[in-house]
Symmetry: D2
Subunit: 474 residues, 4 copies
C-alpha cells in the first residue's frame, strides 16, 4: 500500500505544480473555471509538456468527479461527439491511400481512424489515481440505459484500453485469510455477490478455519482493491448443498484430510471492468496453488448457482403448448407456484423428476444468439474448460436461490488434464461437456421415465434433446 | 521474485498442456515441425481457444529464440510483409465508409487498418516470459542496419504496444544498496553505462557508504530486471570532477550533513525499450524520495558527461573558415590533437578559454532537425525540466571522456519549483534554460576575451548567441 | 507467523519421535500413564538426551494443561516442595566452602542453592509452545489467593526467568492499524483494558483514521500475541475529556496539522507477564517513532484514568475527624453519594473545588510502603519519567470512571529532555514532578481558598502538603 | 535490518540523554574521565534509574572497547576479583540459613552466592549493541592463554547468560542464496571455515545454482550477523570427494532429480559463542525444510573433514612399539612422510589398506576424558544423532586436508527415524553408531587382512576394537 500511496503522492505534487503553472499568468482561476470541460480536453490532447498534461488530466477528472449524474452522461456523449476520429484527416488519408498503398500510408490511415478519445483516455490515465477514475467512468457508461451506437463506440474504446492495462500479466494473486489487512477484508464483505456475508463474525468463519481458503486478484494501479475473488472449502466429498458448506456448526477437518476443493463463491468486484476477464485465470491459478500446497487434493469442483434458470423456465411454461414441455410436466411445474412447495416432500419429489431433465436441457442445448450457454455462470465455467458434473436439487433454499433457480445448484468439475480439451470443444465446436450422470437425464423424458432407446441411437445431440426433453409431445 | 516465477511456472504448465493438445491427434510432431513459423503465426491469429493460443505463442517464441541471427531478421521481414493490414478488408471498409460515416463504420475502418501483427504481438505476449522475449525481439530490430519503411512500420507497432505495457503507472521504484539481492547487484555491474564498475569491491564502494544511494525502476513482468537506474552521491557541495565522487580515499560524510544530491550516473538497462521513456520519471521520484528522507538536502544536480561534444567540435573545426570559429580559436584547438594536452597546464588554460564558450553554444544554440538539443544527455535532462548549471572543464580525464568530450562534464540542476516551467519553455518555445554563470560565457568571444560588441555583428556563434539569448541590444 | 508456526511444527516432529522412543520398549503407554507428573519432572531433570528431554517436557506440559484447576494448584505446590534446592548437596557445599573459599567453591554453592525447578522450567521451555504455556502457568500462580512463602518463592523463579526471556532487546514494536491482520486486531478488541472497544466498527474508528495510531510490542516466541499496546490520538490541543477523543462525530484532522500526540489507552495483554515491565519502553519508542514520522508534533501527553482515587478518598472520608479533611470538605463530598451529582452543575462546581486539591495530594504526597505513588497508573507514568501535567475534572463520565475516580482524569506529559531527570528525581529522591498548574492547587485549602503563604515558605515538600491540604484542620 | 538499527538508534538517544545527566552537575567530564572502570561498574550495579543505568553501561562498554588488549585482559581479571559474590553477605546468609531453612533463606543464599558480575553483565547487555559487545568480550576471554580458576569462573558466567540469551527459541533460520543481501553474503565469504570461498564468483557458484542451498541461523539482537551456516549440495548419489562437489565444470541437475542432500560445510561464525550450541538444531531444521520443499530427497548426509586424525595418528606412530600399530603398519605409514605420496598409486593403495582401519578405530573407540569422540567434527555429528556412514580415502587433496587428515573425509548420515536413538545411544551408553560398511573394517587387521572371526564372536565392542585394530599385538 505504502508504495502505491507514495507514488500517488508524488504524482499529486507534480500535478499541483503543473496546475499552478497552467492556471497562472493571465488566466485567473475565474477564467479557468469558465473554460469548459470540452475545451480542457482539447487542451489536454494538444498539450506537449508532460507536467501541464498531467495537470490538465487531473483538472478534467476532478471536474468530472464533481458532476451530477445527468451531466456525467452528457460528458460521455460529448466524448462521443467531439472526440471521434478527425474526419477531415481521415478523408485525406483515405485519399492518399488510394494512390500510395505503402505501409506508411496504412499507418497514417490507421491513426486517422482512431477515435481521438482513445488518446484522450490514455492521457487522462496519467492523472493521479487516473486508472481507478476511468474504471468508474466506464461503470457510469455501463449503468446507462442507452444501448445506441454511441454506447457501443465508447465501450469499444474502454474495452480496448482496459484490455491492455489489465493485461493478466500484471495481476497478482494473493491469499485472503484471517491474517489479511482489515481494509481488504471489509471489501470482501462488501463485494461478496453470491452468498452474502453478514458481518465480521461470518467473515471469520469463512476465512479463519484451516479448511477454508480465499484468493483474490489485485492490480498494481488499483493497489488496495480486489478485482475478483473466490472462496474455497476443503472437504472430503463434493457437497450438494450450500448450507452444508456454510453451516456454523459443521465439523472442521484438517487440510491434509481434504480430497476436494470446492469453489463455492466467485465475485467480481469492479463493475467498471465487466467483460475484462480475469476469473478464468483466477481459478486455474488457485487450482495450481492448492495442488502445490495440498498434494492430497484430487477434485476441484464448484458449487454454483444457476441464476438464469427460473426465468428461462417461466418463459418455457408460458410458451405455446407444443413446445418442449409435456402437458403432464406443465401440470407438475404448477406446484412451483406454491411458495412452500419445497417443504412438501411429495411435491418436491414430483418437481425433481420433471425439473432436472429440463435443467439438463437448459445447460446442454440452449444457446445465446452467439452460440454460447445461456446461463451466465455456466458460460463462465464451461468456457473456462470445466465440465458440468452434477445437478443438486434444492441445493440452496435461500430466498434468492428459490427465486432465481427454484433452489437448483450445480457442480462444475475442473480436471486439469481436460481443461484445454473441454474449452476447445466449446470454443471450436460449441459442445458442452457434461458428466455421464448429467447426460443420463437425457434418457428420461419429462415424466421422469426412461425414454425409448431406439430413438436415441445415433442421432445428433440436438435431436436427442428434442426427442427426450421435449419428448413428451409425440 | 517468487511470485513472478510462480506465475511463469503456472503459465508454463497450462502452455505445456495446450501444446500436447495442439500437436496431438493427426498432427505428429514431425508434421508440426514442418509447419513453418508463418503458418504458426496465422494459426495463432485465428485461434479462439485460450490455452491453444498460449501454446502456439510459446511454440512460436521458442522457435524464434532458436533462430540464427540472419533468420531472425527474416522473421521480422515476414512480420512486415505477411502481417500488415488485411488489404482486402481495408478496401472494403473504406468503400463502406464512403456511404456510411457512422461511428461503427469508423471503428471498422480503424480495425481494418491496424496491422495484423499488432494483434499477433499481443497474443505472443501471453506466452510464458512473453514480454521479455518481445523486448529482445525489438532489440534485434533496433540492432539492424536497415532504416527502411519496413523498419519504421515495425517499430511503430512495438513502440505503440510497449508504451502501453510499460505505462509508468506499473513501474516500481526500489532502492539499490548493499542489502539488495546479489542477483540484482550483478546486473548493476553489467548495465552501468556511464562510469564502468570494475567488480564487486567497486560496487560496494558505490552502494554501501551512507553517503551513496542508488535507485532503479522495475516492472512486474520483468521482475528481476532493472529498467533504468541512477547512482547518487550525497555531498556538501556541487562536485566538478567525477574523480572526486569516485575516489576510494574520499572522506565519507553523514547523510544528515549533506546539502546536495548528485546524480552522477544514469543507465538504461534494456536496449529493447529504447525510446520508451522512464528516466525522467525516475529522477523526479528519486528527488522526492530523498527530500522526504533527508530534509537537509537543498540541491539536486547531476554530474554528467557530454557525449556528443567532441564529434560536434571536430565537425566545426573541419568546416569552412568563415564559420563560428575564429582563426585564433582554431589554432588553439590544435592543441587538442596532442594526446597529452591536458597534462600541460598552459595548454589546458588556453584550451579552456576557447572551449567553454563553444560548449555553451553547443548546448544553447545547436539543435537537431526536430528542434531539440543535439547532445543526447542534454536532451534528456533539459527535456526533463533541469537547468544547465555549470561547465566543468576537465571534469573527467578518463580515456572515454577525453575522446568524447575533451574531458568536459556539466552539472544540470533540478529545482523542483522550476521543473515544470523549464520543461515547458523547451517543449513549447524551444528555449534552453541555463544559469547566469553559463550564460556569462556568451559575452566572451572565442579567444576568451570579453567580446567587443562591434566585432560580433556578422559573426556566427557569439553573435547569434548575443542577438538571440542576450538580445537586449538594439 | 509462518516462521513461528514452522518452527513449532519442527519442534513437534522431533518431540513426537522423542516420545515414541521414550515410551517404547518395556514401558507401555499404560505404564507411562501411571508415571505421575512429579516422576516425569524428575526424569526431565535427569535426562541427558536432547530429544528425549524435549519429549518429556512436552508430555509434562500436555498433562499439566489437562489438569483441573485444583490439581493445577497442587502442581505448583509440588514444584515448590519437591523441586527446591537439593538440601543435602547444599549443606555439603556450605561445609566445603568453610574450608575452601575459592571461586569454584562459590560457584558450587551458588548452583546448589538454586531451586531445582529453575532448571526444570528452563527445560520445559524447550517444549513446543513452551514459553506461552509457562506464561499461562504463572498466570495461574498469580491468580491464586495464596500469598505464602511458597507463592513468593515460586514467583521469584518465574520472575527471574521471564526477566531474561523477555529481555527488552527481543521485543519488536509494530504499528497496529487498519492494515493489520485480522487475527491480531481481534486480540486488540479482547485485550483493551481501559476504554472498552465494542466491536469491529468501533475498532475501525480507533485505528483507521489518519489522526489515530496504535502500537504494540511483540516477542518472537509469542509471535501472534501482543504483549502491550498503546492507542494514540493526534490532536491540536491537549484533550481534557475522553469523550472528545472517542466521539464518533469528531472532525478528523490531517496528521500534519497535529501538534499533540495523546496516549489515551495503554493495555497489558498477558496476565502471566505482570511485573515484567515493557510499557515504559513502549512509550519512549512510540514517542521516538512519531517524532520521526511527524516532525510537527510538539507535545506528548496521556489522557489517563486515576483508578485508585475513589477508594483512597472513601478511606479518607471514613477516617477519624482529625484527618486531612476539614468538616466543610467532608460535607461537600457527601454530594458524591448522590449518583447523579455530576449532572447538577452547582453540585459539580462545589465538588470540584474540594476534589482537585485532594487529588493533588493523592498524587504528590501519598506513597506506598515502598515509597512509590499510590495510584498504579501514576506509578507507571511518573516512574517512567513523565510529569503530572493537568487534572481534568469529570474527564470521563463512564460508569467505571465515576466509580473508580469520581470521573477524574489526568494528563501526564512526556517531555523528552526531562524524562531522565524526572525519572531520577522519583527513583533517587522520591520526588514527584508536577506542572506549576497542578502544584498551584497546593496553595488552596480544602475549601478552595488560597492558603496562607506564611506557612509554606521554606518547608520541605511533605510538610507543605500536610499544612496546606490537610491544613483546614487545626 | 531497519528495525534493528532503529531500535539501536532509540537506545542511543536515551543513552545520550542519560549520559548528559549523569555527567552533568558537579561532575565535570574531566572528573568523570578520572573515574576508573571499576568505579563505573560499581555505580552501574548500584544505579536505580533506568536511563542512568543505560548511560553507565554504554560508557563502560565504550571505554572497554577502546582498551588495548593487555588492559582488556586486566578488565577481565578485575571482573573476577572485584565482582565475585559479596563474601560478607554470603557468610551472613549462610549463618542465617543454619537456623532458618525456609525457602526465603535459600533464595537469599542463592542470591548472595551469585557472582556480582552476573548482574553487571545483565546490565551491560542493556547498552546499545550490548549483546554483540559482550560476545566480543567473551571472545577475548576465550582467546587468552590462561586456563586458571579465574578463567573458568568467568566463563561459567558468560556461558550461563549466553545460554539464556541465545535460547534456540529465538533463532531464526534463513535461506542464503543469490537473492540474499550483499552485506550478509560478504560475511559468508568471511566466515566460511571449512572450504575457503575465494571471492564473489566462487560464492555465486555455491549459492546460485538450483542444486545448491545454504541456510543460516540469525538472532534478533545480532540482526545482520549469521551465527552458523551450512552449505548443501543436492545430488543423485553420496559424494566421496569434495572436488566433485565444488567442481566448476560439474553438470548441474534439477532439484527434482536430487535424491541426496549433502551438507558439505558447516561454519560457526561467532567465536564468542563457542560452546553455545545451535549447529545440531540447524541441521535438523534444514533437513525438515528440504524434505518439505523437495519430497524426492531420500538421503541426508554430510561430506565432512576429519580435522584431528593426522595429529592422532602422529601420536600413535610416535608411541612405544607395543601399541596399536603393527610394525608392518608403521612401515607402511612412513610413506606418508613423502609429501607426494598420494600421487603414487601404489603408495596410495598401500596406505589406504592400513589407514582406513585405523580411522575406524579413531572414530569408534577413541574417547576424550569425558567419554566423547575425539574428533571434533565427529563429536558434533554423532552427538547430533547422525551415523558414521562411509570413509572416503583421499576425499580432499587440498593442502589443509592432507595435513590435518591425510586427505581423509567421511560421510555422516542423518536418518530422521534414527536420530533420537543414535543420539541417546551416545549420550546414555557412550556408543558410536556406524554403518555395516564402516564396521566391516573392524574385521581387518592393521595389515588390511580380514581378522580371525573367532575372536569377535560375542565380545563387547571395546574388545572387538582392541582385538582387531590393536590386534597386531597379541
Amino acid at each position: 500500500m505504502s508504495e502505491a500511496s507514495f507514488f500517488t503522492d508524488m504524482l499529486q505534487s507534480i500535478t499541483d505544480r503543473g496546475r499552478q503553472l497552467l492556471f497562472s499568468g493571465s488566466r485567473t482561476p475565474q477564467v479557468v473555471a469558465e473554460v469548459d470541460l470540452r475545451e480542457l480536453c482539447e487542451m489536454l490532447l494538444s498539450s506537449r509538456g508532460e507536467a501541464s498534461g498531467m495537470a490538465l488530466a487531473a483538472e478534467i477528472l476532478d471536474r468530472w468527479g464533481a458532476l451530477e449524474s445527468v451531466c456525467a452522461q452528457s460528458f460521455l456523449s460529448m466524448l462521443h461527439e467531439q472526440f471521434g476520429p478527425d474526419t477531415a484527416r481521415l478523408e485525406q488519408t483515405i485519399e492518399h491511400y488510394r494512390t500510395d498503398k505503402s505501409s506508411a500510408a496504412v499507418i497514417a490511415l490507421h491513426q486517422a481512424a482512431e477515435p481521438r478519445r482513445q488518446e484522450l483516455l490514455r492521457r487522462l490515465n496519467h492523472a493521479p489515481n487516473g486508472t481507478a477514475r476511468l474504471v468508474r467512468m466506464r461503470e457510469q457508461l455501463l449503468a446507462s440505459k442507452d444501448r445506441s451506437a454511441e454506447y457501443h463506440a465508447l465501450d469499444a474504446d474502454f474495452t480496448h484500453l482496459f484490455g491492455s492495462w489489465f493485461n493478466r500479466g500484471f495481476l497478482t494473486l494473493r491469499p485472503i485469510d484471517w491474517s489479511t489487512p482489515a481494509y481488504i477484508l471489509e471489501k470482501i464483505i462488501k463485494y461478496e455477490a453470491v452468498h452474502e456475508i453478514a458481518g465480521w463474525e461470518e467473515l471469520r468463519r469463512r476465512l479463519a478455519p484451516a479448511d477454508r481458503r480465499c484468493f483474490a486478484f489485485f492490480h498494481p494501479r488499483l493497489a488496495d482493491e480486489p478485482l475478483v475473488f473466490v472462496e474455497v472449502a476443503l472437504t472430503r466429498s463434493v457437497p450438494s448443498a450450500i448450507a452444508d458448506v456454510l453451516d456454523e456448526g459443521r465439523a472442521q477437518i484438517s487440510p491434509d484430510e481434504a480430497t476436494t476443493a470446492v469453489f463455492y463463491s466467485i465475485s467480481n468486484c469492479q463493475d467498471g471492468l465487466r467483460g475484462i476477464s480475469f476469473g478464468n485465470f483466477l481459478i486455474k491459478q488457485v487450482v495450481d496453488d492448492l495442488r502445490r500446497d495440498l498434494p492430497g487434493l484430487k477434485n476441484f469442483v464448484t458449487l454454483s448457482p444457476v441464476p438464469g434458470f427460473a426465468r428461462w423456465l417461466a418463459k418455457a411454461r408460458s410458451s405455446a403448448p407444443d413446445s418442449l414441455l409435456s402437458e403432464a410436466a406443465r401440470e407438475t411445474l404448477m406446484r412451483l407456484d406454491d411458495p412452500n412447495w419445497a417443504d412438501d416432500d411429495d411435491a418436491a419429489a414430483e418437481v425433481e423428476r420433471v425439473l432436472l431433465p429440463l435443467a439438463v436441457r437448459y445447460f446442454l442445448a440452449e444457446r445465446t444468439p452467439e452460440g454460447r450457454p445461456v446461463d451466465p455462470v455456466a458460460r463462465f465455467h464451461l468456457g473456462n474448460g470445466a465440465r458440468l458434473e452434477r445437478l443438486n436439487f434444492l441445493g440452496d433454499r435461500s430466498a434468492k436461490a428459490m427465486e432465481q433457480a427454484h433452489g437448483l445448484m450445480v457442480n462444475y468439475l475442473y480436471k486439469l488434464d481436460d481443461i484445454v480439451a473441454n474449452h476447445e470443444a466449446l470454443a471450436q465446436r460449441g459442445e458442452v461437456i457434461a458428466s455421464t450422470e448429467v447426460r443420463s437425464f437425457l434418457n428420461q423424458n419429462g415424466d421422469g421415465r426412461r425414454a425409448d432407446n431406439r430413438q436415441q441411437g445415433s442421432r445428433p445431440f440436438a435431436n436427442i434433446m428434442n426427442s427426450t426433453l421435449g419428448g413428451g409431445r409425440k
